[in-house]
């Protein structure tokens, strides 16, 4: 009898949910042609669950093509316009590609100035994400009212003084890039063989102070993360939950000791079990990475060539891999600086050893990397060579092919240029950080949607958690399709099996 009642109840519930969903043809805007913005299409099944969720990227700008015929030395400045949030990453990958193109080794001072600028950039960009873009989900709460899920809510939670500290720390660190690079948004320092401008020794005391304060700020941020996230069991449970977990390959750049390096090194890939799978130089990337095309998105899906494209699936049989902070920590044997190393050890200890597969752990890994970037800034501003006069080695060889790589905040970034003998671009190819993550991000959105949306219940808090599945990657779809806007006002469309729009929600 009870079974019967339950069956009738379930049937009634199913029908109610169905009619609820079908009834809710609330379309906030009937047209979803949001250029440059991310778009999620969720197809519902008859049970009110998710059949499949697609993350679509609806545009591309085609930098590789419109850079053809232009002087190679302009590439660091042209490609920085792919993204105004991470211009320094493109600028630096471009400068390193020019070194390779002209077969010229940067002078020691030139290299150190680049590294200082680059670590300053990694630091301030990560800080932006921690406090303004992704952090609000944790600091304020994943299902907090949406008018509070922003930097204003963060300030409300951590206090105005801390808010001001975030603002002033970022401003001061960005002054380093401004000084050495001319402009902080779209800097101009990168040339083959080094940099355009040296650092005056009169600037050193100021630079040292900023570096020291940055390190204190990174330690403070780790404490904030401890107090607000790690001490909250519900958050830890969310981070380690299955809906936000994928077992894939991981890629990141390492130095000769297999420690994380943002500026230079070899690319290392580990298996879903954490074993070294591949290690290669950027110039050989085409032997290791291929790109898959789908008709429903302008973004391409890179995969590990030796393992092959097996679709949007995880595991060792599938060539899908991940980049960005969590992947970098997985792909390395440790951090290159002491404070970061301590934080690295605690991170893996708490999350159950290597590798970590929980997408949301990216937030924590990002703070670990802030420590390393700040510690490197302290080291470099205390290096007597930083103020040397030999800032650039002039190229003498004929250019032909050059590949440059850096670890951008959002993952491994490769620039590949081919030129004629005069250094005019014949062909350019860019494997951009977020692009490497595109397959895994698409899988994460699908899995989170399936795991979270059940029985036809869709609300703002749940949808925000679906968003969190990609926000954790700090994705820059502007970069990935070489288009913008980079940050994405999201559109979620819910469809029934026939494809009719049930509901559309925009942020």
């Amino acid at each position: 009898m009870e079974k019967m009642v339950q069956k009738v109840f379930d049937e009634g519930q199913r029908k109610a949910n169905q009619s609820y969903m079908r009834g809710r043809t609330v379309t906030i805007d009937p047209i979803t042609r949001l250029e440059g913005h991310g778009k999620i299409e969720i197809f519902m099944n008859d049970q009110g669950g998710v059949d499949r969720a697609y993350l679509q990227i609806p545009e591309l700008r085609g930098f590789e093509v419109f850079c053809q015929g232009r002087p190679a030395e302009d590439m660091p400045q042209l490609t920085s316009r792919i993204c105004g949030v991470c211009p320094t990453a493109h600028h630096m990958a471009g400068a390193k590609a020019l070194d390779a193109l002209y077969q010229v080794e940067p002078s020691s001072t030139g290299r150190k100035i680049r590294e200082l600028v680059y670590n300053a950039f990694m630091f301030e960009d990560h800080a932006l994400h921690v406090y303004i873009l992704g952090g609000p989900d944790f600091i304020v709460g994943p299902d907090a009212p949406k008018e509070l899920r922003n930097v204003v809510g963060v300030i409300g939670k951590v206090g105005l003084d801390v808010g001001k500290k975030v603002i002033s720390t970022r401003r001061r660190v960005r002054e380093i890039i401004n000084y050495a690079g001319g402009k902080v948004i779209h800097p101009v320092l990168g040339l083959p063989g080094g940099v355009a401008k040296g650092i005056a020794s009169s600037e050193l005391p100021k630079l040292r102070e900023i570096a020291k304060d940055s390190l204190e700020f990174a330690k403070f941020t780790l404490k904030v993360f401890h107090d607000i996230v790690l001490k909250n069991d519900a958050y830890v449970k969310l981070i380690t939950s299955d809906a936000f977990t994928h077992k894939t390959y991981y890629m990141g750049m390492v130095d000769k000791n297999n420690k994380v390096n943002f500026y230079d090194g070899e690319i290392r890939v580990v298996t879903p079990e954490g074993k070294e799978y591949d290690r290669f130089q950027a110039k050989d990337y085409l032997d290791h990475i291929s790109e898959h095309v789908e008709p429903w998105s302008y973004i391409k899906f890179p995969f590990l060539k030796k393992t092959g494209w097996k679709g949007f699936v995880e595991g060792g049989e599938s060539g899908v891999y991940a980049v960005a902070p969590m992947a970098r920590l997985n792909a390395a044997d440790g951090m290159a600086t002491p404070e970061a190393q301590k934080a690295y050890e605690e991170y893996f200890k708490t999350l159950g050893g290597k590798p970590v597969h929980h997408t949301l752990a990216n937030h924590w890994a990002r703070v670990v990397e802030m420590l390393q970037a700040a510690e490197r800034m302290v080291e470099l501003t205390n290096d007597p060579e930083l103020t040397g006069r030999d800032i650039r080695t002039l190229p003498t060889k004929t250019p032909s092919v050059g590949v440059g790589v850096v670890e951008a905040p959002r993952g491994t970034l490769i620039h590949h240029y081919e030129t004629d003998g005069k250094g005019l671009i014949r062909k350019a190819n860019l494997i951009v950080a977020t692009l490497n993550n595109s397959a895994r991000i698409a899988m994460s959105v699908d899995k989170a949607a399936r795991g979270l949306i059940k029985g036809g219940v869709v609300n703002d808090g749940l949808l925000n958690m679906v968003e969190m599945a990609f926000r954790a990657y700090d994705p820059c779809f502007g970069c990935a399709t070489h288009t913008l806007p980079g940050e994405l006002p999201l559109v979620v469309t819910l469809r029934d099996l026939k494809g009719s729009v049930i509901r559309e929600i925009r942020r």
């Binding site: 906030i28 299409e41 419109f66 603002i167 970022r170 040339l191 998105s297 005019l424 806007p485 925009r506």
Partner: protein
């Protein structure tokens, strides 16, 4: 207490650098937030298009719109904000004149699609799949917007009241514009909100610019060690300073690299590239055609050099065939 003026920020086809430039107001952003109500700012705040649609016409004091215009969606947003705003400020080089994305007007859409999805090294796509405006995946229909052929400036789509120049505009010119708007002391419509003189006037190297330049050759920045004090044109580098509006305080020359012209021309100039050609090329030393050609070989990409941020709005506009 009277309502604070309402302000909107929106982006079209841009890189997000203009958004970062607003964030770079740093401490000043707190003053702005005190003085105005921000009703739309996608980079930092959640919003809905319907919120803007529901507002009475002309109820937003000012909308700052950055980015070039490529799709119907962006046209719609631009028109919506125009209708709801008393003042529209075209924000940054892409909105003003197409910016770097407009360099794509030298190529066709098909060139871009074919390279990206077929010819690009590393692409594994034997079936020659291309993103489709409509496609089916296991029975589910998915759609994508179509790419337009041409990149346009904002004022080719809606009327614009003021322009903030730069790639991106600097915090200083942004703050000055915000203060002018708040105080109601506005210049005539159509004004570019930055000093109407050439960049050279505020360049620290100005004193070393010779009264009569004589250019025997042009050099590319990677070929020479650049003197950090001396006028860049006098060093034979293509510096767009003479044809570019001031306001940034000569940031790129302060970084020891030439100006690339991102603030656009002054009000007296219609075409920035033509201005540069007329003012600088008359100083080419040789007078024989062959020798002149040899000097010009030092500028292998004239469009990218003279129209780097302005292809949508210059006399050239785009490639047709």
């Amino acid at each position: 207490m009277p309502d604070k003026p309402k302000v909107a920020f929106y982006w079209c086809a841009s890189c997000g650098g203009c958004e970062e430039a607003v964030v770079d107001l740093a401490e000043d952003i707190l003053k702005v937030v005190e003085a105005v109500d921000i009703v739309l700012w996608p980079v930092a705040m959640d919003f809905k298009k319907s919120d803007i649609e529901a507002r009475p016409d002309k109820s937003i004091a000012a909308s700052f719109i950055n980015g070039a215009v490529r799709t119907s969606e962006q046209e719609e947003w631009a028109r919506l904000l125009r209708r709801k705003s008393q003042v529209v400020v075209s924000f940054g080089a892409c909105a003003n004149s197409g910016g770097i994305p407009a360099l794509a007007n030298q190529f066709h859409k098909e060139d871009i699609l074919k390279f990206v999805y077929e010819d690009c090294p590393g692409v594994d796509n034997k079936a020659k799949t291309r993103p489709q405006t409509e496609c089916k995946d296991e029975g589910r229909t998915l759609s994508l917007p179509e790419l337009r052929e041409t990149v346009r400036s904002l004022d080719q789509v809606i009327e614009v009241d003021y322009y903030l120049p730069g790639c991106p505009p600097t915090p200083k010119v942004i703050m000055a514009a915000v203060q002018a708007l708040l105080s109601g002391k506005l210049p005539p419509r159509g004004t570019v909100l930055s000093p109407d003189i050439a960049l050279c006037e505020e360049c620290k190297r100005k004193d070393s610019k010779p009264a009569d330049l004589s250019l025997a050759e042009f050099k590319r920045p990677h070929q020479v060690l650049i003197d950090p004090e001396k006028c860049l044109l006098a060093q034979g580098l293509v510096c767009m300073g003479p044809a570019t509006r001031s306001g940034c305080e000569a940031l790129c020359p302060a970084g020891n690299m030439p100006c690339t012209g991102c603030f656009g021309p002054t009000s007296r100039v219609k075409d920035q590239g033509a201005k540069f050609v007329s003012s600088v090329f008359s100083n080419i030393a040789p007078k024989e055609e062959k020798e002149i050609d040899a000097v010009l070989d030092g500028i292998p990409d004239p469009i990218g050099s003279f129209y780097r941020y302005g292809l949508s709005k210059c006399l050239l506009r785009r490639k047709l065939n």
